[in-house]
């Protein structure tokens, strides 16, 4: 073996070991758990396909999946629109631009639990800041987290606030890579700023949009801390996410086999959704 190859192996070994121990082994172990019944403290027993059959008939799982899709339906477009708008604004000459850029990024680096507790104070029906503002406008209080129809969109708004800074950075990078000449060319043709944005900027930002959609989808499917802290999955299970349900099975009910089955199902669903997304956005890009 060449010295160069040996060095390469030596240098990559720590990461390889790390990957093996903390990624590949847990993944393999989770797959094995699908066919087991195990409560953590007693010896596991072979369960065959019981966990899979239970999953197929489990109304809670399907509702959690629908809830997650509802979350994504609100969160994804909102995330893109807000991130793009903010990026566009922050790309302009602006007083204290560095401050604003840092300010919008700040929620990304704050702990999810802290953000959630903060928003629980904002959303509180009786003494919440938002309902306080609404009251000044003579509007009645909104039961943000206790109305079954509103709770999940409310969580989606919160998640958007938390994560948007990250996507703003992606879009900002994209905006800065759009050639100035393209804007000048279309403006010479008499296009308005909006038309310039719609026909030049937006198409050129498709790679960033694909990335934002992909990452937001993955993150969205992993929705956990927000419903866990804010609503516990209610009201009427409307904020029960797949990961929250998986967590309950694993750590409240000690059903490790079924929790692993939920995890595997979630991974497959995310993979399928991403394939579809890539094909749709990719084909749009080609056309």
């Amino acid at each position: 073996m060449h010295a160069e190859a040996r060095s390469g192996l030596f240098l990559t070994a720590p990461y390889a070991v790390f990957l093996l121990l903390f990624s590949l082994f847990p993944i393999g172990f989770s797959v094995v758990l699908v066919v087991l019944k195990w409560d953590l403290v007693t010896a596991p027993s072979f369960a065959g396909l019981d966990n899979v059959q239970h999953l197929m008939a489990d109304a809670r799982f399907w509702q959690a999946l629908v809830n997650t899709l509802v979350f994504l339906a609100v969160h994804l477009p909102l995330q893109i629109i807000v991130a793009l708008t903010l990026a566009w604004a922050l790309d302009r000459p602006l007083l204290l631009r560095a401050f604003w850029r840092a300010a919008f990024f700040l929620p990304v680096v704050i702990s999810g639990a802290v953000v959630t507790i903060l928003w629980s104070a904002l959303y509180a029906t009786d003494v919440g800041l938002i309902n306080g503002l609404l009251a000044r406008l003579d509007l009645g209080p909104v039961p943000w987290l206790t109305d079954p129809a509103i709770a999940m969109p409310a969580i989606a708004i919160m998640a958007t606030w938390k994560n948007v800074g990250f996507y703003v950075v992606i879009y900002l990078a994209g905006l800065q890579s759009v050639p100035r000449s393209c804007h000048e060319a279309i403006e010479l043709e008499g296009a308005t700023a909006w038309q310039s944005f719609l026909h030049v900027t937006l198409p050129l930002l498709k790679p960033q949009t694909l990335l934002v959609v992909t990452l937001s989808t993955i993150n969205g499917f992993q929705l956990f801390i927000e419903p866990y802290v804010l609503t516990g999955g209610g009201p009427l299970r409307r904020t029960l996410s797949v990961v929250l349900y998986m967590y309950r099975n694993a750590f409240s009910y000690q059903k490790m086999g079924y929790a692993a089955t939920l995890g595997l199902a979630l991974a497959l669903i995310i993979a399928a959704v991403l394939v579809v997304q890539r094909r749709v956005i990719g084909s749009a890009e080609e056309s």
């Binding site: 953590l40 403290v41 007693t42 596991p44 629980s120 609503t231 009201p235 009427l236 000690q254």
Partner: protein, 864 residues
């Protein structure tokens, strides 16, 4: 497919082995000597018979049973054929059965006791005087000197038994009504004797037994008149003591009739110690200590309790019978209770070892299989054993061993044997004696002047135990104080306190510790929900058959308090430590302003909610409510609304029992329905009140909560908030005072990883001792799960330390916890969602919600 299955299984097994997540630790070996003694009533029952006395069908016990077939027989020719049964034995047998019923709730014991008490009352002659013997046909013997109508020994025992019935069954119990007239007449008759400064029957022992009966009544039905009579009765006994630490007869209370100290029935010290405790008269306790510290300790040092001690210190060692050992054992235990000094309990355990072979011939007097107790030692010669087994021997053994079995510090020394030879005279007793336990543990009793010490040499090895309390500062401080106290007393067993490591919940931390084989020896924050999993994993030690913890369970609880905590094998695997019986706490000012009284029924609750809902700022929206039912569905949220209401309505029926759903009933539907109605009428806030407690700031006027909240409330409440508590409302027509409360228990478990289960059990017994329980109340405002807590004078002062604690204490022994079931969290989650749909959002009728939840829970239970 088979190959795939095999491969998957093999991979799984390998993976699990890699993680070290196989079955739990192997069962820990429990030394035989650490096991609890079992109290058997078989022989006593064998001696019982039905008979008609004074036209009444009653129960009696035959006086004697002769070896080898132990057929019940009556008084022999030697005693003049007095009869087949006597009040003397029946009364004491009733005490045995009553105490057994107190601990086990065994209906047969209650039935036996009541039958025997019927006999006792039938023998009363209308003026507080009693006959003693009956013939086989029920005819009373009115002529024999040991039976004639009088207020003497047998009357004193009758009074003792009737007093115990009042204490155990409760003064309001209808069964007590039947014997109340007889009891009252007997007490009046005693008062006449005491007025004339006469001892009952001219005897210290009979007077002591009458005093025990009087004090039993006084404990549960205190009156100044009875306290005065008891005090004056005790005052008759105190001057009978003679001698001192160095002068014979060393503090013995000498019976003036005989001029000697007689071991048979020598309950003077026991009665004085109890009187001192019940009447708050330390001088009486000191009087009792005088005999125990100076005379009885000499018995232990000599090696045996003699039959007689003369004024000049000479002793007559034989015959030795249970009737002579039992009073000394119970006397020591009464002193242990009165002084809270465990050393007396140690002496009780060592003295009671006489029943198990710590006697001159090394004979086991008490048969652990039947409860039969041999009639005595040394009738004709020192090695002579009387193998007959009469009622008195059996009764006295059961009284002594029953008491030892409920005192942990005594129970662990039961079965110790004498190391050096017995010294035949108390006067020649050595200054020190060593006793050896079943595992060759050693304990040494030493006399130093008027007092004595107990020493347990560590034998070169100090046992180290790790104890995990809950991580909150109050409990950590409490644990450290108790451990320091224990370590000072037990240099051979040192306990190290370490708060439960940080985690989202102690359940998760403990499960992780089990998986990692890193559990402590002891943990005091085990919930019933977790316990079932720990047992299934073999992670905890069974505690109801270890001497220390079994004794504490017997002393502290009753069978009804334990029934829902037993695992399917009948075992108790954690000592229930503290309880937070939920009650309805209310804001006195708000309720008074609204003109409503604390609600006791569902209708009253709804009416109160209507009256208490207010719009105080005139914006058209309610901003004050009567009650807040939490909106979240996390399983434990139902501890504060549905579950306490359900338990109160269901007469304590829980959710699942023996793997079956038991909540599909009217009580569950009613509990959901009342909250549904309140939500539907807009009487309950639809808010989570994040970050604040709406009761503390006056937003809501009532909440269902346990006593743990009181300390916090006192520190954080708005100025001027006055509060009180009342039982949780029940369906219309039910009695809220008789309803069950939700216990919210936390228990103490010993983990199977311990190398010292017996020592750990002893420490657990200490953590749940009256001394520790009092600290728990005073420092943490939390209640020990203890029988008769509210009426127990030992805790009266502590319970006044915090407002409402006395009322909470009244609910402690009529409470139910969540089921000890491994799937209880999921069961609660399912029920909580059903409750939410039916009560909060009203989209499913309550009956349907309960039915669907029951079906879903059945599926969960089936799948395991």
């Amino acid at each position: 497919m088979k190959d795939i299955t095999r491969t998957a299984w093999a991979v799984a097994a390998a993976a699990l082995m890699m993680l070290g997540c196989g079955p739990g630790p192997p069962p820990v070996a429990i030394p035989a000597g650490a096991k609890a003694i079992e109290l058997r009533l078989d022989h006593l029952l064998h001696l019982g018979f039905d008979v008609t006395v004074a036209g009444r069908q009653v129960r009696a016990v035959a006086l004697y049973a002769e070896w080898p077939d132990y057929r019940p027989v009556g008084s022999p020719a030697r005693d003049g054929f007095e009869g087949l049964a006597a009040v003397d034995d029946a009364a004491r047998a009733a005490v045995v059965y009553l105490r057994h019923f107190e601990q086990t709730a065994d209906p047969r014991s209650k039935q036996e006791a009541l039958g025997l008490l019927s006999f006792v009352t039938a023998m009363e002659q209308g003026d507080g005087e009693f006959l003693n013997f009956i013939q086989a046909d029920g005819t009373p013997n009115r002529t024999a000197p040991t039976s004639r109508r009088s207020f003497s020994y047998w009357a004193a025992r009758a009074l003792w038994a009737m007093g115990e019935a009042v204490r155990v069954l409760g003064p309001e119990n209808p069964d007590v009504d039947d014997l109340r007239p007889t009891l009252d007449r007997a007490i009046s008759r005693l008062a006449r004797e005491v007025e004339r400064r006469h001892l009952v029957g001219g005897s210290a022992t009979a007077t002591a037994e009458a005093l025990l009966g009087l004090l039993s009544v006084q404990q549960v039905e205190p009156t100044p008149e009875r306290a005065d009579l008891a005090g004056r009765t005790a005052d008759l006994l105190v001057p009978l003591a003679q001698g001192d630490a160095e002068t014979a007869p060393w503090g013995a209370h000498i019976d003036p009739a005989e001029g000697v100290w007689h071991a048979w029935g020598a309950r003077t010290a026991q009665a004085l110690a109890l009187a001192g405790r019940v009447l708050s008269r330390p001088d009486l306790v000191v009087a009792a200590q005088r005999e125990a510290d100076q005379l009885w300790v000499r018995f232990l040092l000599a090696g045996e309790v003699p039959e007689l001690v003369y004024s000049d210190g000479r002793t007559k060692p034989f015959p030795q019978i249970a009737y002579g050992v039992s009073p000394v054992v119970e006397g020591y235990l009464a002193l242990a209770d009165a002084t809270e000094e465990p050393r007396y309990a140690v002496l009780a355990g060592l003295t009671a070892s006489w029943f198990l072979g710590a006697n001159r011939p090394g004979i086991t007097m008490y048969d652990t299989a039947t409860g039969r107790t041999l009639d005595g030692l040394g009738g004709a010669s020192a090695d002579d054993v009387n193998r007959n087994s009469g009622a008195e021997s059996t009764i006295e053994a059961l009284l002594a061993l029953g008491s030892v079995a409920t005192h942990p510090e005594a129970a662990v020394y039961l079965g110790y044997r004498l190391v050096a030879a017995i010294v035949p005279s108390a006067a020649d007793a050595p200054a020190e004696r060593e006793f050896a336990g079943p595992e060759e543990q050693r304990v040494t009793v030493s006399r130093r002047g008027a007092t004595f010490t107990i020493r347990e040499p560590a034998g070169g090895t100090t046992i180290e135990l790790t104890y995990w309390p809950a991580a909150n500062p109050v409990e950590v401080d409490l644990a450290r104080r108790l451990a320091a106290e224990w370590n000072g007393r037990h240099p051979d067993i040192q306990v190290h306190v370490q708060p439960i490591p940080a985690g989202r919940s102690s359940e998760e931390v403990l499960l992780a510790a089990v998986v990692g084989n890193a559990t402590p020896d002891i943990c005091s924050n085990v919930s019933s929900g977790l316990l079932a999993r720990l047992v299934r994993a073999g992670a905890v030690v069974r505690l109801d058959d270890l001497a220390g913890t079994a004794a504490r369970l017997g002393e502290r609880t009753s069978e009804p308090m334990l029934v829902s905590l037993r695992l399917p094998d009948g075992g108790i695997y954690a000592v229930p430590w503290k309880t937070n019986p939920m009650m309805l706490m209310y804001n006195v000012g708000r309720l008074t302003d609204a003109g409503v009284t604390p609600p006791g029924t569902y209708s009253e609750l709804i009416d109160a909610l209507r009256a208490l809902a207010r719009d105080t700022d005139g914006d058209g929206r309610l901003d004050r409510w009567g009650f807040w039912a939490r909106l979240k569905t996390t399983w434990f949220e139902r501890f504060y609304d549905f579950y306490p209401l359900y338990l109160a309505a269901s007469d304590g029926r829980t959710l699942v029992a023996r793997g079956e759903v038991v909540f599909e009933n009217e009580a569950a539907v009613a509990a959901v329905e009342v909250l549904r109605q309140a939500f539907a009428e807009g009487l309950l806030p639809r808010s989570n009140f994040e970050g604040r407690d709406p009761f503390m700031d006056g937003t809501v006027a009532m909440k269902v909560v346990g006593p743990w909240f009181v300390k916090e409330l006192e520190e954080l409440k708005v100025p001027g908030l006055r509060y009180d508590v009342t039982p949780v409302p029940v369906p219309d027509g039910d009695d809220p005072a008789a309803a069950y409360s939700f216990a919210d228990l936390k228990s103490i478990a010993v983990f199977s990883t311990t190398r010292h289960p017996a020592a750990a059990a002893r420490f657990v017994a200490y953590l749940t001792s009256p001394e520790a329980d009092r600290l728990l109340i005073e420092e943490a405002a939390q209640l020990p799960y203890r029988r008769g807590l509210a009426a127990d004078v030992r805790f009266a002062a502590a319970l006044t330390r915090w407002p409402t604690l006395q009322a909470y204490a009244g609910r402690a022994d009529r409470s139910r916890d969540i089921d000890v079931d491994p799937d209880i969290v999921e069961v609660f989650d399912i029920l909580s969602e059903a409750y939410e749909a039916a009560a909060i959002y009203g989209i499913v009728p309550p009956e349907q919600a309960v039915r669907e939840a029951a079906n879903e829970v059945r599926a969960v239970l089936r799948a395991r």
